[in-house]
């Protein structure tokens, strides 16, 4: 026993002496692995000159014959292959992974999920592994807001999918997901927030009368940001609910929510040259709105610690009168086993701000294939399967918004046959929002870096650590410094 340990020890030491001596080559090695594409400057200037590098680096994929016809990913024999997958986890996402069993059965492949985490954990995981060249997955989660970070490391998918197959997906999303001619991802479901409100509060005659006499206009689901504030104040003042409204208060979730309020108020984070401009009137108005909600106790006291699951749980428990939430929780909210609000809520379009625009911060959850993957064939088959009509339909049944027209047709047909009026109404609202209000955050590789720098400052404004003006000034300066250090203004 003792000798065994010594042997292991000796082996490890030799291995590590070698490792240490070889370690000095390491910088050179890092330079080689990822390709040459200067992602930052490219996004900043929008230049097309990277086309040439693209064609050389996708050399191995050129040999692949462009597929024709439509595949649901089940038509290949993949016996003996293992497809590894790193993806997002959490209540609304998991159901889809149950269908993987079917894929394994029909193709003979084995699917191994190497990582599951929330949106920010999975981003961290993918980023580290892409950067270090240690991809241990073939299929990776992706998202339109995050994808610009990964462009160097994911397989361009236009060569793997037939035109016919791609035509099934929403053209707007496919277009948004194409960077320099390369399709980054295949969308899984769309992501936009509708105004969820409690019907038992809004339809209560006493509350309606009280509201109208106090505010001078009738009580109805809030259509503007100002109305949101009034109604939040009213409901909390009446003591009928703990919080008027709410939003997730940290990470990109907060920066994104601020973004859509900012856009609704007529502002934006950056101009066309990536100069940060959110310290203007629209920015001040948006920040002041969040600050007022917090200081007057209209949103939860622990807002800066809340993320998606916590806010959803708050609404589910009936603690909140109304708020902006994506459609993915629908089946969960409608389940009386889980939620107090089941059967007692409605959904309307996002509110309008001072700029006369609706909120509509949006994106799409998606899958990509790692460029480093050694069995892209099988990986693509899995992506085809997961985004196929049948699986997408199962996921859409839970409430997530489809990105395929054929699935839309089926869920609309189902909804019109349903006894619950909201089933159909919500889809109409969602379609309206996707058609009219859908906008993504700026699709540049440093969106997440930017939001990570900005959200603590925004928290500082909301918590009153600094004034609105100071905070926005600091936010703009920090953003400029950050992008400057990445060479955006050269």
């Amino acid at each position: 026993m003792k000798y065994l340990n010594w042997r292991i020890l000796f082996f490890l030491m030799v291995a590590l002496v070698l490792a240490a001596c070889g370690g000095t080559d390491e910088p050179a090695d890092t330079v080689e692995t990822p390709d040459e594409k200067p992602a930052a400057t490219e996004a900043a200037t929008g230049s097309d000159e990277t086309e040439s590098t693209d064609s050389t680096e996708s050399g191995d994929t050129v040999e692949v014959e462009a597929p024709t016809g439509v595949s649901n990913g089940l038509d290949k024999d993949l016996s003996g292959t293992t497809i590894r997958m790193a993806t997002i986890g959490g209540q609304p996402y998991e159901a889809m992974y149950d269908s993987i069993g079917k894929f394994e059965e029909e193709t003979g492949a084995t699917v191994e999920i190497v990582f599951l985490g929330d949106g920010f954990e999975i981003d961290r995981y993918l980023k580290t592994n892409y950067a270090a060249g240690t991809e241990d997955y073939d299929v990776a989660w992706n998202h339109t807001s995050f994808m610009a970070q990964y462009t160097n490391f994911v397989e361009p998918l236009q060569d793997w999918f037939s035109d016919e197959e791609l035509a099934a997906f929403s053209p707007a999303i496919i277009e948004a997901a194409t960077i320099d001619g390369d399709l980054q991802l295949i969308p899984r479901h769309a992501d936009i927030s509708g105004m969820h409100y409690r019907t038992d509060l809004f339809e209560d005659p006493d509350l309606q009368a009280a509201f109208e006499s106090a505010y001078g206009y009738p009580l109805a689901p809030p259509a503007t940001l100002d109305e949101m504030y009034d109604m939040a104040e009213f409901f909390v003042g009446e003591g009928v609910v703990q919080y008027g409204t709410q939003f997730a208060g940290k990470e990109e979730a907060l920066a994104g929510r601020f973004y859509e309020v900012l856009v609704a108020n007529g502002g934006n984070y950056f101009d066309a040259d990536f100069n940060p401009i959110f310290d203007d009137e629209a920015g001040k108005m948006s920040a002041q709105w969040m600050l007022d909600l917090y200081t007057n106790g209209l949103i939860p006291a622990d807002t800066p610690n809340l993320l998606w699951p916590e806010v959803a749980q708050n609404f589910c428990d009936g603690n909140v009168a109304f708020y902006l939430e994506w459609y993915g929780w629908y089946s969960y909210f409608q389940d009386p086993e889980n939620c107090a609000v089941a059967g007692n809520f409605g959904i309307v379009r996002g509110p309008v701000g001072a700029g006369n625009d609706h909120t509509g911060w949006a994106g799409a959850h998606a899958f990509s294939v790692a460029k480093a993957s050694e069995n892209k064939d099988a990986a693509v088959a899995l992506v085809k399967f997961l985004t196929s009509e049948a699986v997408a339909y199962d996921e859409a049944k839970l409430g997530l918004l489809p990105v395929r027209d054929d699935v839309w047709a089926r869920v609309i047909a189902d909804a019109s046959a349903s006894d619950v009026p909201l089933d159909a109404a919500r889809l109409e609202v969602a379609q309206l929002q996707i058609a009219e209000d859908f906008f993504t955050p700026p699709l540049f590789p440093d969106w997440i870096s930017f939001t990570d720098t900005w959200y603590p400052t925004l928290q500082g404004i909301i918590l009153g650590d600094m004034s609105v003006d100071e905070g926005l000034e600091q936010g703009v300066n920090d953003a400029r410094d950050l992008l400057d250090s990445f060479g955006y203004y050269e």
């Binding site: 002496v17 490792a19 961290r124 950067a131 006291a301 610690n305």
Partner: protein, 320 residues
């Protein structure tokens, strides 16, 4: 790495082994180095090499997602990261928070442990039950301590708010981890709770090993309990105190796990510490160069803290 041990060998030849047995041959002077070498090699690989690498990286603008453009060392830009840190308010804030955090947790942990050890030394019954109760926090990984206290102080479902509500002491839920200074206090409480058992056990062992006659004599001479504690117990358990503090200092960065889970340094950098800020920059923001510069500050801080205690320890050993 190999050069390090070779150098050691040279030194050995020059110095010889002072306390070695008289008949020792020249070959045996190598003996202590043979014993130390494996440890040194492992430490060199796992600690010293990465630290040197970090130092190098801290002079480059290395960005994880665009290594080819940024992993470049240029003399005119080598201080950029350090200049950036110098001008970064958040960095100074995190440094201040770290220093306050260390000062408070170390001192309070020590004082509580000292009081607890004096109390336990007088207990006549149920020693082993109490000792087991005392050691319970030792079985919790820092990660668990973090989760557990984050849960207790949670504004909506937390035990603290819940209990205060039920007792009618509170009407509005309090966001302990958001407000100032309760967020910091909560983190400190968790860390202190985690530190106490080890300190108490060492101090208790020290107290129990003291000669009873001295105390009896002092009692007969009319010394009060406080005087006995101050003039007999305290000086005699000094080596134990130093051991306890050194053990604590070696593990101080464990607090990172607790902070990361309870608040992640937020909100609005209110509980930002040098460790969380470094982690945020390195991994979330991919700014590895800047993060390395900051981690150097963390290394220096940790090294000085430990160095100070070790000097004290070695001094007290000479006295004994």
């Amino acid at each position: 790495m190999t050069t390090t041990s070779a150098k050691q060998g040279e030194k050995a030849n020059q110095a010889g082994v002072v306390s070695a047995p008289r008949h020792s041959s020249s070959r045996t002077t190598w003996f202590p180095f043979i014993l130390i070498a494996p440890s040194l090699i492992v430490i060199a690989l796992v600690v010293i090499y990465p630290v040197l690498y970090s130092i190098y990286v801290s002079f480059t603008p290395f960005h994880l997602l665009r290594p080819e453009q940024t992993f470049v060392f240029t003399t005119e830009k080598m201080w950029n990261n350090y200049i950036k840190l110098w001008n970064d308010d958040v960095f100074w804030k995190s440094l201040r928070n770290t220093v306050i955090f260390l000062a408070v947790t170390v001192n309070v942990s020590y004082l509580v442990a000292l009081a607890l050890s004096q109390l336990l030394a007088r207990v006549s019954r149920g020693q082993s039950v109490m000792r087991t109760l005392l050691m319970v926090p030792m079985m919790f990984a820092p990660v668990l301590v973090g989760f557990q206290f984050a849960w207790f102080f949670n504004a909506t479902v937390g035990l603290v708010n819940n209990a205060l509500f039920s007792l009618g002491l509170m009407q509005e839920p309090k966001a302990w981890l958001v407000d100032q200074p309760t967020g910091m206090i909560a983190i400190m409480l968790a860390t202190i709770w985690m530190n106490i058992p080890m300190l108490t056990i060492i101090l208790l062992a020290g107290t129990l090993s003291l000669p009873q006659e001295t105390f009896e004599a002092a009692r007969v001479d009319g010394a009060s309990a406080w005087q006995r504690f101050k003039h007999i117990t305290m000086p005699l358990i000094k080596p134990f105190t130093l051991i306890a503090l050194t053990v604590l200092s070696l593990d101080i960065a464990r607090a990172y796990d607790v902070v990361r889970i309870m608040t992640g340094g937020g909100p609005a950098h209110r509980t930002e510490m040098i460790w969380t800020y470094t982690g945020r920059l390195a991994i979330r923001n991919s700014q590895f160069g800047l993060a390395s510069a900051m981690s150097m500050v963390a290394v220096v801080l940790g090294v000085f803290f430990t160095l100070y205690l070790f000097r004290q320890l070695i001094k007290s050993r000479v006295v004994y």
